[in-house]
Amino acid sequence: MNVTFNKRDPVYVQVIRHFKEQIATGAFEPGQEIPSRRELAGRLKINPNTAQRAYKEMEEAGLIRTERNLPSKITRDEDVLKRVRKELIMDAVDDFVHSVRSINVPVDEVLDLIKEKYEDESGGKGAKHD
């Protein structure tokens, strides 16, 4: 687990985004155990209080579950998992539309380009996290 953080977004938000990406790409499977807060802080080299905050938010959003003193796990709730995937796709599309719009490209031209690119990279497995 290695994430490059930017310096202007809250770190806990970036941690949650990382988890969502891992869930959406299947790197984290439903029901899989996740590291303790302290372990996560160590692995990502972040403040333990920040790791705690990220876990608390994910717990409230239903992304992870913690039962008593057992290690936290990724949820098995299909609806939540679908929502995560959709949310990530929507975010990516929003970013894309935002940057394309600023260059004033007609939508049809963009769609053709997207299709072309997709076919070019048909072997590729989407974004890989560094």
């Binding site: 310096k7 809250p10 770190v11 302290r38 802080a41 160590g42 403040n47 333990p48 209080n49």
Partner: protein, 229 residues
């Protein structure tokens, strides 16, 4: 909590601290930032009562400093202070003899964490490894608060990374840490709170996640605003 309330300190005619106030919580990393010569070390020395202050008040868990405070708090200077020729093992023994709060299990763990050989002489160590031994000797004490003077100063990037990792590990546990530094880049993600110092005063103190969340600014962004208006 460590509360520093409006402390003032003069050296001769030179007013080094002109009313400095900030707090540092247990379980948090508080970073006192300022260029060299701005009085950062003086503040840590004042908290330890190594440099008596001229005015103001310092409270540790609500009490003014007394002999029991030293069981709760330790100061790690910016360079190791041990007899030349001592091995790491001998310096650890020295600490164990001197402090009842010495925790040998944690010291042994820290040796492994930093990949240090206890039979090495401190004189023969690289600058980075000497800094790690220095930190080890302080971290191995069972105290609530650790004051660290420039733990990242003048050492190579890999040693800096390794030292930074200590702060995210269980070796610091839920203790309160105050670090002084003039260089924040490596540790922006690690700290809870930044205290910006200049001209003997605190120009600003803030929680780093809050400033990212509410203002979309990095710690360095805020420093730029404060130091270069």
């Amino acid at each position: 909590m460590i509360e520093v309330n409006d402390i003032k300190k003069k050296f001769g005619r030179k007013k080094v601290l002109k009313g400095v106030s900030f707090t540092a919580e247990k379980g948090e990393i508080t970073c006192v930032i300022g260029i060299n010569g701005v009085g950062k070390t003086t503040i840590l020395n004042a908290i330890m009562n190594l440099t008596p202050i001229n005015a103001g008040q310092i409270l540790i868990n609500g009490e003014t400093i007394n002999k029991h405070s030293y069981e709760k708090i330790t100061f790690i200077p910016d360079a190791i202070i041990m007899q030349p020729g001592m091995t790491i093992k001998a310096s650890m023994q020295f600490m164990a003899d001197f402090y009842t709060s010495w925790n040998q299990a944690r010291a042994t763990e820290l040796l492994g964490f930093f990949k240090l050989d206890e039979n090495e002489k401190i004189n023969n160590l690289s600058k980075g490894n000497r800094a790690k031994v220095n930190l080890l000797l302080g971290l191995a004490l069972d105290v609530d608060y650790l004051l660290m003077d420039e733990p990242f100063s003048g050492i190579d990037i890999f040693s800096r990374e390794q030292i930074a990792e200590v702060f995210t590990s269980h070796l610091v546990e839920d203790r309160g840490v105050i670090i002084t530094t003039h260089e924040i880049n490596d540790i922006e993600h690690l700290i809870d709170k930044a205290v910006l110092l200049d001209g003997g005063k605190v120009l600003k103190q803030f929680n780093s996640e809050e400033v990212r969340e509410e203002e979309g600014k990095s710690v360095v962004d805020v420093m730029r605003e404060v130091y270069q208006p």
